[in-house]
Symmetry: C2
Subunit: 341 residues, 2 copies
DNA sequence: GTAGTTTTCGAAAACGTTTTCGATACTTTA
DNA sequence: TAAAGTATCGAAAACGTTTTCGAAAACTAC
């Protein structure tokens, strides 16, 4: 019950390993007759090349690594889906690792993937990441590399992002158009670029519409959880009872906000309007249905892999590669939570 | 900028490759002095063994494959999480593939993983799977293999499951205890064992409580979606307006049911009580909060990997391995949707 | 029949590691 | 001092594939 090798086929056919290998790979310098003999035998024995040997010889594994903060997350699992689908279409497999939002773990995962010699790496930064040494090392070693969503602007590599600032601007402008005068913002942690950008979009939208920015109306999540949503909703009501709109970093937290408002009987959207971000599935089943910003997560995965593939192919042919940045479109999904009364 | 190899270290140190290899792997037959020299140089050059060569030589890749119906799914993403975590703890990486609930794709993925020569495979069957040839082939080739959740009873391999029948029985008994007299069941597709078992549990609970089973009250999902939940809820109301309880195959569908009831103003739990299955996150944020059966998904992932590891270790030492089945506990989570009035 | 061309094949090196086994050199013991 | 034992090292084979390059055979044309 041992694995079939080229050697065994060669021996039973009385020819050389070289010829067997060539026959299987359609080299022109093998006669039709021997090719057929080889193919027939290989099929009947169910020969599959030993990928360990192929890897060693060709120096590639047709495997890529993916590092994300967490798998159990509506946005990321959709990205994973896109990456896996596109990778498979191109004959690549995907190894997935989690950083659990820890910088230390993220560094370890990068090392792990490098030691496994994956052909390329796709990554979304953890919230803790404010140091790019491990990323720079990746670039220095010329390992094809793509970042998506949570990126570092300081690293020169391909990126797939949305325009967080613009999207946030539009979300807040949407609230203003619906009549909100005093808008709070529950923002993400301090490090991630997209949390910063969404905050900046919030601020800009206020300014453009002649609403004075008030830093007291900004609440900062540490863990970006449902519970934090409830907590900050409570604080908002206590500290600023006249708030009439809330822009929340992501739907999960926004759902926490809605849950609290439901509990204490605050009417959404009549008293306060709420808009989230990312279009999690649950936002369309909660009461009231949550308005949000649609983020093309699956497409983000697909594009990330495409960029990586381009870079991997360039590397294989020793061509130089210019990193690219792809910016995907977002759009406001108006649902019940921002309806005009 | 080439990769460092044993050969290079050996040459700069003027010793043999053998000795370098042994020094790095703490063989006893290398002197303290040379060991230190090797270790120092290896560290300063950031030597990492070429895993392709190691794989070829040792015939293992320290990589396992995972095939699941879909990544974007609360239950499966939690299982993934458990598997990845436990695998990493033991020095294994995980390649994830999706079957998209298609038998054909599932077979292809199995072949792919075999050709990649992963050390083992963990899998949950697709809904279409009613044929085990590809699984049997896996067993025949003696590839360590574990099934979880959606299993085939005909295959002799390790399994991690819950007692779906018992859990369903308890869920329906819970409805009955809360006063329900006429209980509908929205069941899963015809093939998967767990859909069958949950149906059987439903039937048994009725019988034990002297309620006559009525096949008209059973609705069968094809795709197990939110939309199907809404659809069947509508049918139930139309065809059996006196139904006062619904047991639903999984929370996603149950949430669809609740959504329809909310829309047309049917009060849950006053008029109809609803219980789901699996404890998806959204079930605790929807209105009313959904009662459900808690399924230890993360733990299922952990246990699956543990069983696989055991089998892989046995194989490595050429010991025989007896497949085991682990049955995990579930429990009823009582929330608003089954509250007594 | 010879020179040249084309077709078909295989030897061998290479990828980088692990491990067996034998060979030194050095130390201990009687 | 010789024999036995121990510590240290390295040659070489093996894992299975890919690819280069040269050789042999077959065929073409004159």
């Amino acid at each position: 019950m041992k694995d079939i090798t080229l050697k065994q086929i060669a021996e039973t056919l009385g020819i050389s390993i070289t010829t067997v290998s060539k026959a299987l790979k359609n080299y022109p310098d093998v006669s039709a007759k021997t090719r057929k003999a080889v193919l027939d035998l290989a099929n009947s024995l169910q020969y599959t090349p030993n990928s360990f040997a192929v890897n060693l010889r060709t120096k590639e594994s047709r495997t890529i690594g993916l590092i994300i903060p967490e798998v159990v997350h509506h946005f990321f699992s959709n990205v994973i889906n896109g990456i896996i689908a596109e990778a498979e279409k191109n004959g690549y497999l995907v190894i997935i690792l989690q950083s659990n939002e820890s910088l230390e773990l993220e560094k370890k995962q990068v090392e792990l993937l490098m030691s496994k010699r994956v052909d390329g790496i796709i990554m979304s930064l953890s919230n803790e990441s404010n140091d790019d040494d491990h990323i720079k090392e990746l670039i220095r070693r010329e390992i094809p590399f793509v970042m998506f969503d949570k990126i570092s602007k300081l690293v020169n590599c391909s990126k797939v992002i949305i325009n967080d600032q613009k999207a946030a601007y539009n979300a807040v402008a949407h609230l203003i158009n619906k009549g909100c005068k005093k808008i709070a913002h529950i923002r993400g942690p301090v490090n991630p670029q997209n949390a910063i950008d969404r905050f900046l979009g919030y601020k800009k939208a206020l300014e453009k519409h002649d609403i004075v920015y008030n830093s007291k109306l900004v609440y900062t999540c540490d863990n970006v959880t449902f519970e934090e949503g409830k907590l900050f909703a409570e604080q908002i009501i206590k500290e600023h009872p006249d708030v009439d709109g809330v822009f929340v970093i992501t739907d999960l937290v926004a759902v926490g906000v809605l849950d609290y408002f439901n509990e204490i009987g605050i009417k959404v959207p009549q008293q306060i309007k709420v808009i989230g971000f990312s279009n999690w599935f649950m936002s369309q089943v909660i009461t009231p249905k949550l308005s949000t910003v649609d983020q093309p997560s699956y497409e983000m995965g697909v594009q990330s892999f495409c960029l990586l593939l381009e870079e991997m192919n360039c590397k294989k042919e020793s061509l130089s590669f210019q990193p690219k940045t792809i910016e995907l479109e977002t759009k406001i999904l108006e649902r019940e939570s921002t309806l005009e009364k």
